[in-house]
Amino acid sequence: MAAIDAGRVAGSRDRWYNNPLIRSITIQIVLVVAVVAFVGWIYHNTTTNLHDRGIATGFGFLGQRSGFDISTFLPTTSDSTYGYMLLAGLLDTIVVSLLSIVIATILGLIVGISRLSSNWLIRTIATIYVEFFRNIPPLIVILFWYLAVIAALPNIRDAIQLGPEISLSNRGFFMPRPVLGPNFHIVLIAFVVSLVAAWLVRWWAYARRMRTGQGFPSGWTGLAIVVVITAGTFVATGDPLSFELPVKTRFNINGGWTISPEFATMFLSLGVYTASFIGEIVRSGIMAVSHGQTEAASAIGLRSGQVLRLVVLPQALRVIIPPLASEYLNITKNTSLALAVGFADLVAVGNNVLNPTGQSIEVVEIWMVFYLGLSIIISVLMNWFNARIALTER
């Protein structure tokens, strides 16, 4: 080594500024200084600007009376505080996201499986569905539902009657609201007890099958146990549940349970839109399962439904889960489009708060914290689920 080094001519490579370590440290120090200076500059500008406009910083405004009212799932009045309003908006975002996720997943699964159907017509319909919805902005889907479909429904006077006291009109979907009686908690307890019993049966059946190899219809038995016990208690306690019927007044419907047009628009549009993406994810997941698996499953005598349920889907899930998680995140972020139809989600409420108070920085901070938090929660949940179903290799 020493002999080789001795023969070398000291060149530009040996200068201190070409030393990788010194370089990397210098670059990073410069970067830190630049970032700090930039943030400091922005901070200085912002405080000056806010001071000039007479806007106080900080989250004190959250405790003030809002003075506006919006329809959300939490009951609100114009006396509610800004903080409470934002909380109501947050709840709306979560409810719409969850409902859209459920609809999109079910519809997406159907579409994805249909795209692989051996039936030409079903395959084609699914393909048209996917290619149509994947290539238009979600905002158009939302506006179309809101301005063209729901607005075209008849007005309340000639609402479409879907059943006794269930009606559909351009003011929303009206149905009776269940009112819990004083003894309802007994039914609830009975339901939980029956669930535990059903689970015990299932556990026993599994243990027996492991021991003796004999099967037992634990699913049907469990269902029977749950239905019989819950329904029995329901009848025995005597009228634990009554319904508050929607009452038609001259221009509106009061009471009962209402799904507002805005809410319906949001979850239907996002569900239908995202289903096209989930359909493609499901399709690619199923195609990733090797054909030998399907053939082997058929060879041991499983029917095509069983092949799909017991062999193909569990393996496809491993491929499906990661992109599915990011689709769920997209749904959550797309709920912010609610602003366009006036559904009071977190962004729409934040916009309402931002205008009178001028607290734009704080509101944007709240948005960012909430959406980032929700992203992290969904990622963690999906990672956990992914780890659970991951292939256990020898």
Binding site: S24, Q28, L31, W120, F132, S336, M368, Y371
Partner: protein
């Protein structure tokens, strides 16, 4: 040998012709195809019937609404108002100029047409794999074309009258916003991706933070920040154009998504390529520019195009800060008293959806095409 000649005695040789067997079941033609693809089993048949009924229930009213019954030509809204159950294409026709150019002044619209032409001349050769001068084409697409267009469209030079960005709108503005987002997201996305893969911890974590924050929040909030917070962040008195603010927000957002796509490509380049480049004595930037990026970008072209599709669809959100791209121009025209009828929103939205669809579908086909083209090398 001669014994064998008396064939009459050979019991295993057939004495008379076999009866003709029926021809094999046809495997080609309409009926066999239908049996294989539509009526394979009882369940299949039920599915087919359900599909036909469903299709008819949707297609027949849709065709009646949009084609056969639709009002294609009408001088005023009266005809449309009298037939609220069919599409009013006359409304779209009457507002077409606005949908394409926004409120860009009539005598200056040729400038927008030149912009469309230049865009086609830059983008189409870039998309054709065998077209020559790729490197120059890319530079033209990212630097020269945006610069030339900004002078052309804003004006104020070479005797062109100045056109305020406030009057820009329609499909033209949608293309401007998405093009700027695309052109900016490539270089910045590559830089962010390289930063994220850097071994310097501060560079790495800074890039991770930028990318993850942008990807974690909805575009609407990014646009709010660009529209409302940006003026607060700048020194008092410094104020810049609303459109520029929107472009800033969209570019930032697109760059973060692009960074993740490019990172996928960087990870897919085999390690030997890095090692080989280093052993040749190339430094980091030379290695990245000559060896790594050409391979990484080629691998992820489908992903890049998919990001472009997402970006193109997302431009519909810039209406949040009062910028009137195609969709919001269409929405604004709903309240136009000359054309406002019950069927106007559905017709206008269908038109907007078709325009978006044509662009996005073209891009998605292109993405599929490159995917297939790139896969050739891996085919066995």
């Amino acid at each position: 040998m001669s014994d064998m000649q008396s064939q009459d005695n050979l019991f295993f040789v057939r004495q008379e012709m076999v009866a003709e067997s029926p021809p094999p079941v046809r495997v080609r033609g309409v009926w066999p195809w239908m049996r294989a693809n539509l009526f394979g089993s009882v369940f299949d048949t039920i599915l087919t019937i359900v599909g036909v009924v469903l299709g008819l229930l949707i297609i027949v009213p849709l065709a009646q609404w949009g084609i056969f019954g639709a009002i294609w030509d009408a001088p005023t809204r009266d005809t449309c108002a009298a037939n609220p159950d069919v599409a009013c294409w006359a409304f779209v026709k009457a507002n077409m100029g606005q949908f394409i150019y926004g409120r860009y002044p009539d005598p200056e619209r040729w400038r927008v047409n030149v912009f469309f032409l230049l865009m086609a001349l830059t983008v189409i050769p870039l998309a054709i794999p065998s077209a020559p001068f790729k490197r120059f084409n890319l530079i033209a697409a990212i630097i020269i074309f945006p610069l030339v267009s900004s002078f052309l469209l804003v004006g104020g030079v070479l005797g062109l009258p100045e056109v305020d960005t406030q009057v820009w709108g329609g499909l033209f503005l949608t293309l401007v916003v998405s093009y700027v987002g695309m052109a900016a997201s490539l270089p910045f996305g590559i830089l962010l991706a390289l930063g994220r893969r850097s071994k310097m911890p501060i560079v790495h974590y800074l890039c991770v933070a930028i990318i993850e924050i942008c990807r974690g929040i909805p575009l609407i909030t990014v646009l709010f920040m660009a529209g409302i917070l940006l003026p607060l962040f700048l020194p008092t008195g410094v104020n810049f154009d609303k459109l520029l603010r929107a472009l800033f927000g969209v570019s930032l957002f697109a760059s973060c998504y692009m960074a993740e796509v490019v990172r996928g490509g960087l990870q897919a380049v085999p390690k030997g390529q890095y090692e080989g480049a280093k052993s040749l004595g190339l430094n980091y930037w030379t290695m990245t520019r000559l060896i790594i990026l050409p391979q990484a970008i080629t691998i992820v072209i489908p992903g890049i195009v998919n990001t472009f599709i997402g970006l193109f669809k997302d431009t519909s959100l810039v209406y949040i800060i009062a910028i009137f791209e195609l969709l919001s121009t269409v929405r604004n025209s709903f309240t136009d008293p000359n054309w406002s009828t019950p069927s106007t929103p559905a017709s206008g939205l269908t038109f907007a959806a078709l325009v978006f669809w044509v662009f996005c579908f073209t891009m998605s086909r292109y993405s599929k095409f490159t995917e297939d083209r790139l896969r050739v090398g891996y085919k066995r």
